[in-house]
């Protein structure tokens, strides 16, 4: 287990360094932040002063060295626009994003697991056909379209739920559904396939022949075997939800990392874009490692590979 962990950590570090390099140079390809930060009337001298103040006038490699040095010391720099420490901005927004991602994952699992089990065990039942439809729409309807439809129906027409913001627990419902819907489709198909396969497995036949009821077979014997692939996919899903919530957070005015990243990109706020991306990459790697470790605990075969 220890060697496995060491190997995974080394891989993760490599991944993080790669991500930092990529982000650093990519954001700089997008142009000049000064023209967006200063009023149009600003003079050439004022622009030069701003560049110098923000360190943007130094050679790219020097800036990169500074950036990496900062990262190693845990200093993610200062936002050009807000003039505040990036880490402070990120930590302020992190709880909202975690909350939304967890709620989206919870929603996805809540629908996908029971429906997938029933659909896998009884493919030709109405539940099976419903599952086909849900899985298909989950993977084809773009999340931002779904978000708009949800707002129009549940906030504007019916008036049941807030249309934006993070004020009450009810505020969480629509963005969580919009964000979780795509992943739900994937998780549903996975559960259904695993359940379908388990249906013919020897241990299920044995369980049935012992005289166990269908419900008990599904919950005690099929579900645990579905859990293993589900766990690893849910881990991947979660990291995807963290980084992929840019649209959803923006549409619902959800004050998380996604909407912060969106603004930072629009403003060409290089240091903030770098910091958020690196932070999400770090988080993704950490969650991935955690999933792998859990996986190893649940399934000894993984450790031995």
């Amino acid at each position: 287990m220890f060697r496995y962990l060491v190997k995974r950590t080394a891989q993760s570090l490599f991944l993080l360094v790669g991500a930092s390099v990529l982000v650093f140079f990519l954001v700089r390809l997008s142009g000049d932040p000064v023209s967006l930060m200063l009023p149009k009337e600003a003079s050439a001298e004022q622009r030069a002063a701003f560049r110098a103040e923000m360190g943007l006038d130094r050679p790219l490699l020097v800036q990169f060295g500074d950036y990496l040095g900062g990262v190693v010391r845990g200093d993610l720099g200062k936002s050009l626009r807000n003039q505040r420490a990036n880490l402070e901005l990120i930590l302020e927004r992190l709880p909202a994003t975690l909350e939304l991602a967890l709620a989206a994952l919870f929603f996805a699992l809540l629908v996908a697991v029971p429906l997938g089990l029933v659909a896998g065990l009884y493919p030709s039942s109405p539940a099976g056909r419903l599952a086909d439809w849900v899985a298909f729409s989950g993977q084809t309807i773009p999340s931002f379209v779904l978000a708009m439809l949800l707002i129009l129906l549940f906030a504007v027409q019916l008036g049941w739920l807030p249309s934006f913001g993070r004020d009450t627990p009810a505020s969480l419902i629509l963005p969580a559904i919009a964000l979780g819907f795509g992943g739900m489709g994937q998780l549903l198909r996975l559960t259904r396939a695993a359940a379908h396969e388990a249906r013919r497995a020897d241990y299920i036949r044995t369980a049935r022949s012992k005289g166990l009821g269908e419900h008990r077979v599904a919950i005690k014997h099929v579900l645990p075997n579905v859990t293993i692939p589900l766990l690893s996919v849910a881990g991947v899903q979660f990291t995807y939800l963290l980084g992929g919530s840019v649209y959803i957070e923006t549409i619902f005015a959800w004050p998380g990392l996604g909407s912060l990243l969106n603004t930072a990109i629009q403003d060409a706020d290089f240091p903030l874009v770098q910091a958020i991306t690196l932070f999400i990459a770090f988080f993704a790697v950490a969650v991935q490692m955690l999933t792998d470790v859990l996986y190893g605990l649940v399934d000894p075969r993984v450790r031995l590979e």
Binding site: R47, R81, Q83, G165, A253
Partner: protein
Amino acid sequence: MTKRWIAVLVAALASLPAVAQAPAGQLTVALANDPKSLFMPRAADRTAGNVASQLYNSLVWVNDAGEIVPELATRWTISPDGKEYTFTLRTGVKFHNGENFDAQSVLATWETGKDKSNDYAESYSVVKEVRVINPTTVTLVLDKPNALFLNTLANFWAVVPPSYIRQVGLDGFAARPVGTGPFRFVSRSADRIVLEANPNYWEPGLPKLQRIVFRVIPDATTRVAAVRTGEIDIANRLTSELTRQLQNSSRVRVISYPNDRVFYLAFKNVGNGKGTPLENVLVRRALNLAINRPAIVRSIFNNEARLVSGFVLPGNLGFDPSIQPYPYDPEQARRLLAQAGFEKGFSISMGCPSDYYVNINEVCLAIQRDLARVGVEVSLEFKTSNTYWSQERYGAVGPMYVDSWSSTVGEALPRLLGALTPGAFYNTWEDETLSRLIAQAAITTDRNARASLYRQIQRRMFDDPPFVYLYQPVIFEAVNVRVQNYRPRAAEEYYLKNVSVR
């Protein structure tokens, strides 16, 4: 019996003004983006300026009619050479933290404002000296006369408390700003800014609201949804398409007003514009005639934009209504091109700030199509905004480019100075006659004399056009019917001290 009723009525009426004076109710306003800073000299975005301006006062204010009126100064005199402004200050005014307002506050405002790290440092550094004569008298000394100095004061000089700034520093001040304005700062988090009525505000009967909550809602569709549900009271930065779904709403009223902004197709006679056909005035007139602007306004903006004749817009000081926009006349355009020696047309490239403004891509494509009809082959260069504006004199794009310029002072001077003064960062057209007139207007403090200069500038910009004036956009906002007295101005700015809610 009747007498008693009259007495009751009189008593009730007498108590009315007292009731009306107490600030009441909450107004919720959507912001299209997270404000940059609430420290005015760093608030270089309209959203930030709109939140911040509720917190502060300046020495003078521009009222809804566009007149300069007293605010923290009760009166002022200007020296005959136009360089010294002496203000008599209002007494008994306190900052939100209890600090007294006096001449030292004006000095501190200037000192913190002109700090090089501020976006609007130049609005403060036009003053070279602040002389504190006594606690209620202060003189601001300029290098040279400045036509819009009082506007600059009104727009940018948000008066700040010196002791508080010394105590918390500029970053601390930006986090918890303090002014003398009608509202005071309560809190700011990632998605909202909360202000409440300043109980000691010096203008009697103001403000009328107890509380203002600004909510950051970046997506325009969501802003419309939220104003429909009543979650917010005011949604701005909307398009006409979006407001169409609000037409039958009994809860929301749509307001629209022309923005003090001109969209134009600019020509260069500097940099890569040198040696191009654009240097010939006949060509520039031909291009003005060749672009079907009425069609652009009709089909791209559903008639919700206005045709303009130049940089001086209707409502701006010195606007000359006798100058009509160039008509659409491709025949005449071809004749002028032939006269200029380009009967076979020519090829040229044109920059377009991709998606930065509403429908701008469609406008650029329409220009390309119209010019092709008179033989001018335009190759379009779509660039993202930060590349587009990255280099001096629009170095990143070709000899023609589409752009816009706004003004917040009710006069065309800021865009004239920015676009047509040699040496300005974004100047691409040098015309000696024009720049002399503009420089003259910039130092002419007499309004009538300045208006006359604007008329001459307008005439010159029509006869020898440095640009094709495309259109003036119309702004759309959606406002809950319970909101009273909300009057946004042509630069999308608003003051909320007079606003109340039912």
